[in-house]
């Protein structure tokens, strides 16, 4: 019965979903032709603040307050992941040999990784800084920056990754990024208007220093997203590499681990 329960519940849910879903889909407007009133207004607002990338204008200017919440969702998830995957004292196992990563990587992989590392960092920085002009922005560029640091892991090993992005520096970058976004919002308040209002000079259309607060917010987000991704993936790598696996003995040893874990 217990094995069947998910299937039964799933079947009931599927029938309910089919009824509601088909009705909802039939009520949808036919895509492609209908006028998009919000799109027209969003494009006009993007033009008013000299932001050629209308998507980024919506994300960071028109809906800037929502993105503040989104950024703190990311921050909370990163903190939660780091907290859940922290190495406990009993897992350190200093007496056991550790594997710090692939020591026996092909030379070609090392070479490509070393060559791509600066390129990835450059592209990441470019995508962050040009977010208001071309497709990209802080979220996209931040992940490119983070993947650049993982090339260092591929090219070398975990220790190199730790040296390139020490956890203390990354924690700080993450916090500074999140705080920076909120601080830009308060700057709007101090300037005498609304929270996160785009009150900086809007500059010349299609130039790097334009669109007011949007590039500043992009840099803050890029910092936070890049740091968050490196931290989170580093924690998963640490689990895979540093914590020795206890294969095969799910009897007494597991109970011992579970018991120790409660302290």
């Amino acid at each position: 019965m217990r094995r069947r329960l998910p299937l039964v519940l799933g079947a009931v849910g599927a029938v309910a979903l089919a009824v509601v879903g088909v009705r909802a889909f039939l009520g949808l407007p036919g895509a492609g032709e209908v006028p998009h009133p919000y799109a027209a207004r969003a494009v006009a607002a993007a033009y008013a603040h000299t932001t050629p990338n209308a998507v980024v204008s919506v994300t960071l200017d028109q809906r800037g307050f929502d993105t503040l919440g989104e950024e703190f969702v990311l921050l909370a998830a990163a903190i939660g992941t780091v907290l859940l995957l922290r190495r406990l004292a009993e897992e350190a196992h200093e007496d056991r040999p550790h594997d710090y990563g692939p020591e026996d990587v092909f030379e070609a992989v090392r070479l490509v990784g070393a060559l791509l590392l600066p390129a990835a960092l450059l592209v990441g920085g470019y995508v962050v800084l040009h977010g208001h002009l071309s497709p990209g922005g802080g979220f996209q560029g931040g992940t490119v920056l983070a993947s650049g640091l993982y090339l260092a892991y591929l090219a070398a090993d975990y220790r190199t990754l730790e040296r390139l992005g020490p956890p203390g520096v990354l924690d700080t970058a993450e916090g500074v990024g999140a705080l920076g976004y909120a601080a830009v919002g308060f700057a709007g308040l101090i300037g005498g208007s609304a929270y996160l209002a785009n009150d900086l000079p809007h500059g010349v259309w299609n130039s790097l220093l334009s669109a007011g607060t949007v590039p500043v917010l992009n840099v803050a987000i890029g910092l936070e997203v890049g740091a968050a991704f490196v931290l989170v993936v580093a924690k998963f790598l640490e689990q895979a590499l540093l914590v020795p696996r206890e294969d095969g003995d799910d009897g007494g040893d597991r109970d011992a681990t579970a018991g120790e874990g409660e302290h």
Partner: protein, 133 residues
């Protein structure tokens, strides 16, 4: 015939959602469960982009196109971006929880996992080493 594409987009979103849902229901491994949840969520990306799609529209980035070119809806594209970011954050958190479940219980099959209370009652009956302090 010309109007098949929008419904194909909606149907594709529904199909991806159902495929992910089937995986969730029949999952036997927590990592598989998390990936299925990501698949289910990715249906919302397609749905949002289908809602914002405009026939003949281009990307809503006006750096190199005129003010009055027809573009797709930037509002739903921004929502999709939010969706992707929250999805990535959620996946990381759920995978971290899966790692903890695997370490604490030695079991990653969602059907075999019991509630916390049951497990601790089971353990209370046994003299577990390392709990004396």
């Amino acid at each position: 015939m010309a109007d098949v594409l929008p419904w194909l987009l909606y149907a594709g979103a529904g199909w991806i959602f159902l495929a992910g849902l089937y995986g969730l229901v029949t999952s036997r491994h927590l990592v598989h469960t998390v990936v299925c949840l990501s698949v289910t969520q990715s249906a919302t990306y397609l749905l949002l982009l289908a809602v914002g799609w405009t026939r003949g529209g281009t990307a809503p980035i006006f750096a190199d196109i005129g003010r009055h070119r027809r573009v797709v809806d930037p509002v739903v594209q921004a929502m999709t971006l939010t969706d992707v970011v929250v999805g990535a954050a959620m996946t990381a958190l759920l995978l971290a929880l899966s790692v903890q479940v695997a370490k604490r219980r030695g079991c990653v099959d969602p059907r075999l996992l019991r509630s916390l209370e049951q497990e601790s009652e089971e353990e209370r009956g046994r003299p577990a080493p390392g709990r004396s302090g």
